[in-house]
Symmetry: C2
Subunit: 659 residues, 2 copies
């Protein structure tokens, strides 16, 4: 029903399958008002729409037509179609005259692709008692609906809405209970007031507490979120669907949507956008039109901007630079920036979902970038690495540092205790933004060279650098810091190490590949993989390491784009022998063993369990339940995701070990 | 020839007048390749274009046609048209076969609206000697061209290009010498390599050192700058014209422009934009087309995006939120962010050009916002204000603070020395971001209430707050800081002031209007304006002060939107009497005195001199050379600008004193 095609942080490009065709997500569903629609949203690029079943139900003529010809014909849209129940009306008017099962029956009867049960949208900031009582009913109705669907062989996909007001523990509870239901989609409800109040920080809490407790194999719909300003942030949190009545409602109010906020037509001297409407008309043109024509054109603008933003977001996920987009979009309003900063508190969760390698460079765009998954992951990995006695901190050069570092480095200051220096017993790292400490042996590994940051530093960056030094000083007996760093950061150090002249970066390819292996697969992997007579072949053109053989057997290739090791079968065997279950392993069931050995890719439903530390993009060992090595491959998802999916590729197998 | 219509920092919306009509600036001039153009740029919104006179000159057929029918007909564009000389060809090929005066003659002969002399584009980072030698020739030719134009009654407007490579003192020297020439437009040349190398920080230095030495009454053209990613930043520095060959060149290379950077078609899965082309086609559609058709569509996209961005920028200047746009756009690349941070070093210059009041709120978007003109200006003004003995720092509430501050404030900690507290001899300020210290008496004045910042603070903001306290502690005998501030910022204070219970904000309207007057017009203005029996009328609806009378005469109105005082004639007289020349004064010449007294607006050419501290938007006194008060009004420009213009409104007169 749903498949993930590309990932970036918690965001995913997915495909949602319905009776009326497939939809690529993230997607925006324009709201179609049955009987009142004037704009052909499909013509403007909409691939899925939403309409309100209760409005159809309440209008005799619409109801008859929908029951006779189907809802698709009624609203003249041939693609995937979602209907809402009367929940919104319920929240506004307090009462409606249809039951939960009736509204499900009706939606199925009119041929909806995705229907919704009758939840209770609980406003933000209500009393705890009110939120709990409402949630009770919402959960009951969701359970009833799912059961009803099963009992009555209802075909349509079913939404089960997460509620709980602004109580994050209630959102969590709701998500956990709904998770048990195996619903087809999980909307997150009643967040519109938060957006209207610009409470984006609370929105982030509500969404994150919902999504982190929902399964990964089901699309999440941020109900009522139709302003393009917030799409990027919400996609980064894992939202897949949005709906927009805003494109029409704002147009009726002479307001133009933009990723930067909202423009009132009355204040415009220019059409501030590149869409067709903004290119062809001036604000005066629009103001001179009669209302109907104007509303249609503004709605067309609003739709173009909203759908354009959704496409921009999908492209960013594919490119791996969604966070750069999010950080840009969140400058539209200080409250959005607050939301982004709040999201920083969920970095560890985002990190877990974030691929280990990407097509794009990491761009530092401000203090918020320091919270990003890539930096958190690097520092965490660095903590785990083996440490020598002395840490030598070299200044940044052009990247890759290890290629451009000079032979004679100059003077080094002593941070803390001064000891005799043994260069062989020292780790040499470059101190730079945004990754803090970059060991020269692994500096070509993604994203340690594939990044950029401004030269003029903000205070958070300086604090980050200072924190790195302070933390890592604990792990070493001696820290030596290059004079240019001391000057640049204005460190209060006085003693120059007497052996400064001896300090240089000694290139050692074998140490380098072992360090990369440890960084990539865990401590000890380097010694295990490269345990005999190592031969290293380099690219004649770039000088980069390409192939690594041990005792005449090719063990690994080094990928040029990100310097990660791609194991050969021989390498897989060595890593497998040297490490114990569950490290780097994905365990598949018995049935799939022959296919896996044959080199066929591993689908989610075949995975029994796996190393929780595997990230999307990681090179992995595929084993059976006896820990026999079946194949080597690349993980496409993390363990949570693989566990939750019953279909779709989990591991792209590189080579199988035939029996 | 050029007039300013709206301002924001150094940016201006202007009108450039040419034989073929007026152009609103900032404007983008698409480059038209004579004889090879396939896209009708006017249809897509271009209002001015640029073409190359040397290419026309070198092609026999084009040359004949241009001489016979004019260049407008040749390239089929009826509006304002600029031509470049052969400078670019000179820089590429090293030599060209036309002289400086010949190329001017030729451009005039083919009917160009704006022509260019033959400068030497000196690349960045050349030797000083090379830059100096080239500059010598460039200056000579500019002088020759201007003289030639005068001598031969040449009608076309003339560009004189600022060169000097990356030597900021040479750019400065060049700009200063060109300034003497009274050329019609000042392009800034040879910056394309800087953009190609992503040296935006150096670009900012080059542009700022050029522009700050050019007159304000002449448009500046950033030659060869055609990527929409950098338009906003460059407009903020005072650039008025851009030209784009990029829209075609990038299209020919299957690259799509965006304010976020450049997309390669081969990497696209989505059309990442809301323009007509991106709404109608998919990347696969484009890839399947034949090259000619594809290039045309991509060029159309590139043009739509570029022209859309120019309109967005003009709208932002009109709205007064250009810096928010700049700060957003500069997230596209860390090197652009570096450029923005570099621009922070020129804050005092931007402040001088920045209006004193705007239609939009100040949005904090990151540490760079702390460098903005509004904050610099406020802190500078605050330094000048009269100080009492004790400074009391209250925590922020909802804005306006003075309305929402509670009666009982709670405990205050002593920062520094503890003294006995006299509430009457205390200044009470709110400590908040982004404006640091906000005296409660002036908190409604723009932008002290009209602003927003994220609640989660970055380290620069915390440092800014700490710096504010540290600096202002010097001006007071005692500082008391509210406990919630101490907790929030984790200040290391221990003593609670024993009189904490007495501390509250005592509203006093007369003190308030006097403080606002001092803040607005300078110390002592409050006592001068409100020196008798003061009567204050408030809005029944909002409770805000509206009218202020003294001894029965209306002296000032308080503007609801920004709480600035707008003086009546009576108020003008009082301020005039109490202050001495040149404070708050604009001096007009004898000829214009009758018109000014009559209430007619003051044009730039009538202004003899003025208070250098007047900012655009300030309320001013208009006097004659004997310092007789002629009228009161509002400055539309700053003194530099008024001095440089020979036409256009300088002061919008409110009331004149008839003789």
């Amino acid at each position: 029903m749903f498949e993930i095609k590309a990932k970036d942080n918690r965001a995913r490009v997915g495909v949602l399958k319905t009776k009326h065709g497939n939809v690529t997500t993230p997607a925006l569903m324009p709201v179609i008002h049955p009987g009142r629609q004037t704009i052909d949203v499909a013509k403007h690029g909409a691939t899925i729409v939403i309409t309100n079943s209760y409005i159809i139900y309440k209008d005799k003529e619409l109801k008859e037509k929908a029951l006779a010809d189907g809802v698709h014909k009624l609203i003249n849209f041939d693609g995937p179609l979602m209907t809402d129940s009367g929940s919104f009306q319920l929240s506004v008017y307090g009462d409606i005259d249809i039951s939960n099962t009736e509204v499900i029956d009706f939606q199925e009867a009119i041929g909806t692709d995705i229907g919704t049960s009758l939840d209770i949208p609980t406003a933000p900031y209500v009393t705890r008692q009110k939120a709990e009582e409402d949630l009770e009913i919402t959960l009951e109705r969701s359970k009833e609906a799912v059961q009803y669907k099963k009992d009555h062989n209802i075909e349509m996909l079913l939404n089960s809405v997460v509620q709980g007001s602004t109580f994050t523990d209630l959102r969590e509870k709701c998500a956990k209970e709904l998770r048990q239901l195996d619903a087809d989609l999980y909307p997150i409800g009643a967040i519109v007031p938060l957006m209207e109040m610009y409470k984006y920080s609370d929105l982030v809490d509500v969404v994150m507490h919902s999504i982190t407790n929902l399964p990964d194999n089901v699309p999440r719909h941020l109900m009522g979120a139709g302003h393009p300003m917030i799409f990027a942030l919400c996609v980064a949190m894992g939202c897949d669907l949005f709906d927009s009545a805003a494109y029409v409602l704002y147009a009726e109010d002479d307001r133009l949507l933009s990723t930067r906020g909202t423009y009132k037509l009355e204040n415009l001297t220019e059409m501030p956008c590149s869409c067709e409407v903004c290119s062809k008309y001036t604000p005066d043109d629009l103001r001179a039109m009669d209302k109907k024509e104007r509303v249609k054109l503004i709605a067309q603008h609003n739709l173009a901007v909203s759908l354009g933003e959704i496409r921009t977001i999908r492209q960013a996920i594919n490119d791996g630079d969604l966070m750069e987009l999010v950080e840009e979009r969140c400058r539209a309003h200080p409250a959005l920036l607050d939301g982004l900063r709040k999201l920083g508190e969920y970095s560890d969760d985002l990190e877990y979902y974030n691929p280990s390698t990407k097509n794009s460079a990491f761009f530092y765009t401000g203090p918020e970038s320091l919270q990003r998954a890539e930096i958190r992951r690097h520092i965490k990995k660095l903590r785990e690495m083996d440490k020598k006695s002395t840490l030598i901190l070299a200044p940044p050069t052009r990247k890759p540092y290890s290629k451009n570092i000079s032979g004679k480095l100059g003077r080094f200051y002593v941070y803390g205790e001064e000891l005799e220096l043994d260069l062989e017993d020292s780790d040499m790292m470059v101190l730079d933004l945004p990754f803090g400490l970059i060991p020269l042996d692994i500096d070509e590994v993604y994203p340690l060279s594939q990044n950029d940051a401004p030269k003029i530093k903000d205070a958070d960056s300086v604090e980050f650098i200072e924190d790195c030094i302070e933390e890592f000083a604990e792990y070493y007996n001696q820290i030596l810091i290059h004079q240019s760093i001391v000057n640049h950061y204005d460190f209060d150090l006085e003693r120059i190490h007497p052996q400064s002249d001896e300090i240089r970066y000694i290139k050692d390819d074998i140490r380098k590949i072992k360090t990369i292996a440890d960084y990539q697969f865990g401590i000890g992997s380097g010694d295990a993989l490269f345990d005999g007579k190592v031969k290293i072949e380099k690219s004649k053109k770039t000088g980069k390491i390409r192939h690594i053989s041990v005792d005449g057997n090719l063990v690994a290739n080094m990928r040029a784009s990100d310097a990660f090791l791609v194991l050969t079968k021989e390498g897989g065997k060595k890593l497998h022998q040297a490490t114990t279950y569950p490290h780097n392993r994905v365990v598949v069931n018995q049935d799939s063993e022959p296919f896996t050995r044959d080199g066929k890719s591993v689908f989610c439903q075949f995975v029994v369990e796996m190393d929780e530390n595997i990230r999307p993009g990681d090179e992995v060992l595929i084993v059976n339940e006896n820990d026999d090595l079946l194949a080597i491959g690349k993980a496409l998802l993390n363990s949570c995701e693989i566990e939750s999916f019953n279909n779709g590729q989990a591991i792209k197998t590189r080579k199988g070990f035939k029996k």
